[in-house]
Every structure is written in structure tokens, then in C-alpha cells.
């Protein structure tokens, strides 16, 4: 049941009631209690922290940040404020800064499951963001780092990367399957007297892939979601094949 009559602002327990209101989604009522409390006790760090959480829930991140900074002015290692600022930095894409705040939060509140989970999320994002050197093969091309992959004839990843919709790296898995498919494609063209294998396009229910060989010892694999017509992959392939040949040539110099 929603609490409609929170305690008086001079009662420190009013913040507990306000937190319940916040969790129930009654942000306006929670904000009113927090503001009342701050008018009565302007230096109350817990009230600033709560008001910041309410503002963050409302989408007012600058307002929330201001409140959390106020908290840190009084209590530099306040776990809630660092957790909140970690969230804001994460939303801003400042992942290192987010991790810094969360580490302080964890040190102040060891074992807090929300902080532990938040750190996992930020670290996973950092890992996805890290661009390994092999991505340079297709630098500047459409799909570089997520849908262009270069593997050797045995499926070993040489360059580029394939990532799924959640950003997870599927390069090794796709590379192995791509090399296997190319082996079968070569066998098929040979046995059906179709001449030497040139390329294969596979249109799937959720996207398409294109495979070709920039050299006898390498396989280019392009993957796109279903927003890109399969036939367009043959056009995308030309610059990717050229880049792959150039990169492979550089590696042998």
C-alpha cells in the first residue's frame, strides 16, 4: 500500500518513508518529503542522498549529481553518493570514472550487491570498449569492430571482430564456422564443376553473412543484421577485401 502521509520533516524516520515512496514509484511524494527534510535540516547528508536518488529516477541527472556532490562535501567516502555518481558517469560513457566511484563505494560498503553488480556491468562495458589491435585491419570501413572478420584457413582470427547485438565478441566462434563453411564451399564448387570458389552469401532470418577469400590462405567474413539487404554485402565486400589483402601483405613484409 502506498504511504500517503509521511512523518513530519523533523522526524529522521521521514526519510525511510520517503525511500519507500521512491521504491513504489511515487517520486513526487518522495521528493516532497526529502525537500521538507532539507528545509528543516539543510546539512542532512542522508536527505541529500535520497533527494539525489529521486532526481536520478526522474531523469534529472545534473540535479542528482549536484545533490551527491553536496553529500561528498560532508562525507567524502559516502557509499551512496559514490554509487550514484558511478551510475551517472556510466550513463555519460565515462567508464573509468564510473569504476573509480564504484570502487570507493565498495570500499565504504563492502559486499553491497548493488555495487558489485554495477562494477560487473562497468567492467564488461570497458572490456567491450577496448579495441584490440586486430581491429585495425578494417579501420574506417563500415562495420569495422563488429561485423568484419578476417580468419586463416583453419579458423584462427587474424583481424577484425564480430560482436552480437549485446556487444559480446563472437569472433572466434564465427571464425571457426566460417573457415569450415569455406572448406565445404570449395569442395562443393569443385565436385559440381562450378569452377574455383569465389564467394558465398547466406541470408538468415535475423541477418546475412558473406564469405570470400582475399588470398588462398585467408577468409573474409562479413556479418550484418537484417536491416542490410544480403545483396548489398557483395558491395561492402570490395573495400573489405582490398583492406584485408593490404593488411595481409604488410604482415608478410
Amino acid at each position: 500500500m502506498t504511504e500517503r502521509r509521511p512523518r513530519a520533516p523533523w522526524d529522521p524516520h521521514s526519510l525511510d518513508a520517503a525511500e519507500r515512496l521512491r521504491r513504489q514509484g511515487d517520486l513526487e511524494a518522495a521528493a516532497r518529503v526529502a525537500i521538507d527534510r532539507l528545509e528543516h535540516a539543510p546539512g542532512d547528508a542522508a536527505a541529500h542522498d535520497l533527494y539525489a536518488r529521486v532526481l536520478a529516477d526522474m531523469g534529472n541527472l545534473p540535479g542528482a549529481e549536484s545533490e551527491w556532490q553536496e553529500v561528498l562535501g560532508q562525507l567524502p567516502r559516502h557509499a551512496g553518493a559514490h554509487k550514484g555518481l558511478g551510475f551517472i558517469r556510466f550513463r555519460e560513457g565515462r567508464l573509468d570514472d564510473a569504476l573509480d566511484h564504484l570502487e570507493i563505494a565498495l570500499a565504504s560498503a563492502p559486499g553491497d550487491p548493488a555495487v558489485v553488480q554495477a562494477m560487473r556491468t562497468v567492467r564488461a562495458a570497458l572490456q567491450r570498449e577496448a579495441s584490440p589491435p586486430r581491429d585495425r585491419v578494417f579501420e574506417g570501413l563500415e562495420g569495422a569492430g563488429r561485423g568484419l572478420l578476417l580468419v586463416d584457413a583453419r579458423g584462427g582470427v587474424l583481424g577484425g571482430a564480430v560482436r552480437d547485438a549485446d556487444g559480446f565478441d563472437r569472433s572466434e566462434l564465427v571464425g571457426g564456422y566460417a573457415a569450415d563453411l569455406v572448406h565445404e564451399a570449395r569442395r562443393t564448387t569443385a565436385m559440381l564443376h562450378l569452377g574455383s570458389w569465389e564467394w558465398v552469401v547466406v541470408e538468415g532470418s535475423e541477418g546475412s553473412t558473406y564469405l570470400a577469400a582475399p588470398t588462398d590462405e585467408a577468409v573474409l567474413c562479413i556479418l550484418r543484421d537484417r536491416g542490410v539487404p544480403a545483396a548489398r554485402l557483395t558491395l561492402l565486400a570490395e573495400p573489405a577485401l582490398a583492406a584485408a589483402r593490404e593488411w595481409l601483405h604488410e604482415q608478410t613484409l
Binding site: D164, A178, L194, G204
Partner: protein
Amino acid sequence: MSAHVRRALEEITRIRGVRGAVLADRTEGIVVAESAMLGVRREAIAALGASLVRRCGVLLEGGGLGVPRHVLLQGREGTLVAVPVTDELLLLAVGDAAVNVGLVRAELQRVARELR
């Protein structure tokens, strides 16, 4: 069904540049029905086509791209087009390198719809 399927495959084979069309068992890679020019290796088309499409499915799944709807294999002197009909059946057409693959694909898909 077999006469109807054979007629449908013959229509595909009439497309300029198409050498043969085969309805294959996807799991076993054997010919269910066919219409092909003399000298075209129907059994090889069924066996190799089924194997190829199976591997295409594995690759698509690995990349999170769903299940195969259409496969186009291009050789220097010829083309193989494959369209899965059901989990059990697969339509295949083999043609020249410059065959109109858009038309072949459309016809295969039309036949596939009729067979489902």
C-alpha cells in the same frame, strides 16, 4: 505431389542458364525429386547442397543471425542457389556463373511456398 513437384522443378530448369533443380532431404542429403540436364550430378547436388546449408546454419547461429533463408554459392564457372523449404526439405538449383540469381531465387521461393 511428385508430379506437381517435378513440374515445378522443370519450370526452374527452364530459366536461362539453369542446369538443374533438385528437391533434397536436408538431413540425409538425398534426392527427393529433380529436373536436370543430362550429365548434371543430381545426387551430388543434393548431398553437397544439404551439407553446405547445414554449415551455413551453424555459422548464422554462431553470429546470432537466425536460420538460413537463402544461400548463394558463386564459383568461377557456375552458381548454386539453395532455399530451405522446411526443416526436412531443401530446394537447390545449379546454373551458369552468370545466371539470373534473383529470378532463380524468386522461383525457388515460390516453389518452396507451394510445398509448405
